[in-house]
């Protein structure tokens, strides 16, 4: 099962490696792959068709590139097209010349309007505006209460003259809110409306009435990133019914590819203005077309990874770490444990690894990673004394036996960890010597994780809970593949490192070389 376009294309081009140019047949073969990849990312069918046609056109006329193999070339084209369509004309929120600026939120039920209203309110507050939240969702039970709570969290007043739960006229509320905002000196009015279906003509008429009553400066269509093929119908219905001026994608912190973004952009021509990616009020950002493109294609999302890292990592700790690295001395087990815990906070390990570009080829391995392995490693390290943690070399047989007992694992597991850690430490030292610019030298570092063949677990039978889940090296061919893939990992880590200065270049490097 291919998960991503890059995997797919890599397979298609297996036989073509080295050919270095795109023939017509190649293009045809890839177009089908692109089509399936886009469909699996929930891009709407008509949009897929147009898009594939555009890509085919470009791919056929494409210059033969010396630097890229065919798969990479196609992905580059697809990526550029995607960014082109998604990016188009991004723009900022239009503010009214005379206050208050009125922003109205519309969308399906459960797309996240009320939560988004809070996020927007907070965002505007942070920019020095005085927002007012308006509870015009009088349909869903206790939607008004929810908005009030959200408003309280965001520290923004809520205008809610009607109790909701089916009582009251939202048009009236919306109209009254403008006056209210004027008297209370609020310069941004955020109107949260009830969720409605595109085919519910009565509710659509109501939305249009609200629009007519308040003449909003922006009408934002709130769209769940998980939505499938129906995105087109819904977007079209809302465009016809209320005519929105911008789109907000929500729930981007999930693992949906979010192809709907492309569909809506292409069908309605309205720009995607914001992306909402979390449950907390500050999890909110302007929309980044390039990241969305990578996401739709299922390519590693390095930038998002960095942001997640930034958010979760303790800055001071990380800085200290970096200093340590540069000095080239002791990267201790203690540090390792700490880093591991930090990474753990970022989410599931397989997810994080999946964000790294080039990991597509090892997807199967990534998915087979037992998350509890982290806990076991942590248990081993925690069973060591501080002295042992800072210098694993003092670990003799009896110490290892004690640690194994303490952590509830076999001695061989402790040995395995210590060995691997030694390797990692060596690598870190090398890195440190070259400074961080040396990151690029990483790909040349052989066998980062050590050859699995020579280091197989000795006491397999002694740790039954690990068997099957972790043991994957039975097949020599597979072992070789894994080793190769591992070398690839090191390589990608390097590209990720250098990419900070050269984000544009990164795009081209993204496709895996496998």
């Amino acid at each position: 099962m291919f998960e991503t376009l890059s995997d797919r294309l890599a397979a298609t081009f297996k036989g073509l490696r080295g050919k270095g140019r795109l023939s017509e047949e190649d293009v045809e073969a890839t177009c089908r792959d692109i089509r399936i990849a886009l469909l699996e990312a929930d891009v709407a069918l008509p949009v897929v068709r147009e898009f594939v046609a555009a890509v085919r056109q470009r791919a056929l006329g494409a210059e033969v590139s010396a630097a890229l193999n065919p798969a990479q070339q196609v992905i580059k084209i697809v990526n550029e097209e995607l960014v082109g369509v998604l990016g188009g004309q991004t723009r900022r929120v239009r503010l009214a010349k005379t206050a208050p600026t009125v922003i109205m939120l519309v969308g399906l039920q459960g797309s996240g309007k009320t939560t988004l209203a809070g996020k927007l309110a907070r965002w505007f507050s942070a920019q020095g505006h005085q927002p007012l939240l308006v509870a015009a969702d009088l349909q869903r039970p206790n939607a008004v209460t929810q908005l009030q709570v959200v408003g309280e969290r965001a520290g923004v007043p809520v205008f809610a003259p009607q109790p909701g739960n089916g009582v009251g006229d939202p048009v009236q509320v919306a109209r009254a809110s403008i006056e209210h905002a004027r008297t209370k000196m609020r310069d941004v009015v955020l109107i949260d409306t009830a969720g409605r279906l595109g085919i519910d003509s009565q509710m659509m008429a109501q939305a249009a009435d609200i629009r007519a009553a308040v003449e909003p400066d922006e009408v934002l269509f709130v769209l769940d990133a998980m939505v499938g093929q129906d995105a087109v119908n819904t977007a079209q219905a809302f465009l016809d019914g209320v005519d929105f001026s911008g789109v907000v994608l929500t729930k981007l912190d999930g693992d949906a590819r979010g192809g709907a973004a492309l569909s809506v952009r292409e069908i309605t021509g309205r720009p995607i203005m914001f992306a909402s990616n979390g449950e907390k009020l500050e999890d909110f950002d302007v929309f980044h077309p390039d990241r969305m493109a990578s996401r739709i294609l299922g390519m590693g999302d390095v930038l998002s990874l960095i942001e997640t890292a930034e958010r979760t990592f303790d800055i001071e700790q990380a800085a200290k770490m970096a200093a340590k690295l540069q000095r080239g001395d002791g990267f201790s087990l203690e540090d390792f444990l700490h880093q591991m815990e930090q990474v753990r906070k970022m989410g599931s390990l397989s997810k994080i690894l999946g964000m790294l570009p080039g990991m597509g080829a090892m997807r199967e391995q990534i998915e087979s990673i037992d998350e509890r392995e982290v806990d076991r490693v942590a248990a081993i390290i925690k069973s060591m004394t501080p002295a042992e943690r800072s210098d694993p070399r003092i670990l003799n047989g009896s110490r290892r036996a004690r640690i194994a007992r303490g952590a509830g694992v076999a001695v061989s597991d402790v040995n395995g960890l210590v060995d691997r850690f030694g390797q990692a430490q060596k690598m870190m030292r090398q890195l440190g010597k070259g400074g961080l610019s040396g990151l690029g030298a990483l790909p040349g570092m052989p066998g980062l994780g050590g050859g699995p063949g020579g280091r197989g677990r000795g006491g397999k039978g002694k740790s039954p809970d690990k068997k099957g889940k972790a043991g994957r090296s039975g097949n020599p061919a597979k072992r070789a593949m894994q080793e190769q893939a591992r070398a690839g990992t090191a390589g990608t880590a390097g590209t990720a490192g250098t990419a900070f200065e050269l984000p544009a270049e990164l795009k081209d490097l993204l496709p895996p070389g496998s």
Binding site: P141, Q229, R311, A322, Q365, D370, T489
Partner: protein, 408 residues
Amino acid sequence: MDALSYLLVGLTAVLLVGVAAVLLRPSRRRGGGHGRGEHARVAPTRPDAADLISPQAPDATGAAEPAAPGRTGGVVPAGPAGPAGPVERGEPAERAGVLERPAPPAGRMVRLRDRLARSRSSLGRGLLTLISRDRLDEATWEAIEDALLAADVGVGPTGELVRALRTRLRVSGAADPQAARQALREELLALLAPELDRSLSVQRHEGRPAVVLVVGVNGTGKTTSVGKLARVLVAENKDVLLGAADTFRAAAADQLQTWGERVGVPTVRGAEGADPASVAFEALRAGTEAEVDVVVVDTAGRLQNKTGLMDELAKVKRVLTRGGPVDEVLLVLDATTGQNGLVQARVFSEVVDVTGIVLTKLDGTAKGGIVIAVQRELGVPVKLVGLGEGPDDLAPFDPRAFVDALLD
């Protein structure tokens, strides 16, 4: 052992990215990067909402029993002006004028058929028109494939259905519209796996109530579905108790309570930000004490890739199994969900062992085709469908009626 190697390699890689990110921050900023402001150090845990919100939400009855210290859950008596007894029913006889009488669930699907037909005509009729053509050429097959793809059926199942149809129609030969129609009906039905057991197991056990746990990602309609499910159960003359274990989203418990009050069903709720497992347990305890037939527990929406939240959900389920196994774990899927629905179903099944699916928002233009893939891959049947905003629009799913509505 390889997993460990990966782990080390991966961790190192991520670590490097992290370190580099921090180190190179200034240059990235300068480069006109998209700085995220100064909130880079937000803890990944949910904010503790308890100190922002008064623990006891405004209670319409004003007679809520004071929550005993050490207890997180407080039972809010159902019905307007309910008495202070913990789980007493809200005097249904006297208050009959206020309490609503839900419609019986049997035959709801048929009653709601027109709504279904309205939303689906494009798929069913489109397919039928296509397949009844005199000549089934490549373009027609492609159009059929497109129609299925547009219904979120997914690339895999679509390919299979089209292949199966092709084989059948090639064997039967001539393009007899009737035969084609029959073939389409049968193949569609086969896709929906009619052999799966779709009954809800909500029979009270010896000495304890049946337990239904409702889970799903954000915004699929869990709370609404719980409310409607309560009405279905009340219509079947069952004693129901609701547990509002969604302690995270603002006013979720209020929303559930409003649903419960309409049909005289009590709701157990906890403070906002409280441990949902404790609320769930409290609901189970209250339900056992009050000898109700069914306890339905609503949970907070969570995206399946948030490990912390999924662990929390596993804990809720674990706590509920103290009395005995949980009878039903219902995953609420939004019909508009695309291919991510399969991932959702898979992950939720791994964590809480989903026994049934509630497909909501089927009254829109969305076709909910993703459930086909879900049913096939996980063998979890769709048990209920949400067909509208009305309180009694949750219907038991009947694949035959569904396909008929599709093709009529």
